[in-house]
Symmetry: C2
Subunit: 139 residues, 2 copies
């Protein structure tokens, strides 16, 4: 093994070592990634990272989401321990969602990915257009 190889193995995380172990761990790993990547989770974690919000506020900020999916996604995030739900016994009812410490810790790498997506969306849109326009690269 080269010096560079050894240094890489010390400093850089390796994807293979994260998901290759046993099938159960790999499934857990993937289930977390797919939770992160589903249609609304990232956006909701990002929203709640900035402060607690109620159901309707989240619905208004997250344009396009239906009440059903908002409730469903929040239940998933709550199940994973990423958000907390607080119900106020009032009329009209008030429910506030807030990020847990675990949720906040996820928000850090999440926001890095979101920043990447934001920074490269024009480039990716261009790549997609070029790919879709050309039947194959050589012709």
């Amino acid at each position: 093994m080269t010096i560079e190889g050894r240094m890489a193995s010390i400093h850089e995380p390796r994807m293979h070592s994260m998901c290759g172990h046993d099938p159960q761990e790999a499934e857990m790993f993937r289930s977390i990634l797919s939770r992160i990547g589903d249609k609304w989770s990232v956006m909701l974690v990002g929203m709640l990272h900035e402060g607690p919000l109620r159901f309707t506020e989240l619905k208004q900020m997250t344009s396009g989401i239906s009440a059903k999916m908002l409730a469903h996604t929040l239940r998933q995030l709550e199940r994973d321990g990423l958000v907390e739900r607080e119900i106020f016994a009032e009329i009209p009812p008030r429910v506030v969602y807030r990020s847990t410490p675990l949720g906040k810790s996820l928000a850090v790498p999440i926001m890095a990915v979101a920043e990447w997506a934001s920074a490269h969306q024009a480039e990716i849109a261009g790549n997609r257009d070029r790919y879709d326009a050309v039947p194959d690269s050589g012709a």
Copy 2:
């Protein structure tokens, strides 16, 4: 606004400002996130970040993936400009996939998320078990 609040607004990215602008940009943003979060993309980007691999190697390393989904996911990543495909006109055929600079740039935040997932999988598994076991938090 507090000092902390002002510093946060300068230094921290805000999710709302990334996806709230116009619907088209928001859709692009979400399409990138869902690409990142789909069942296999993250794993493949991670694998290829460590070096070029051929189709069969990827298939073997990424346990559980079908040929169909491997091909499909690689096409998507190629379309986005995240991976490159090189075909060698040999018998038997050989096709090598490698990460592009754009793909490598994505690998950085991707690996951070993957590390987070790896580090917290036990905690999340525990949270899920507890959530599933208890009908409601008070009872």
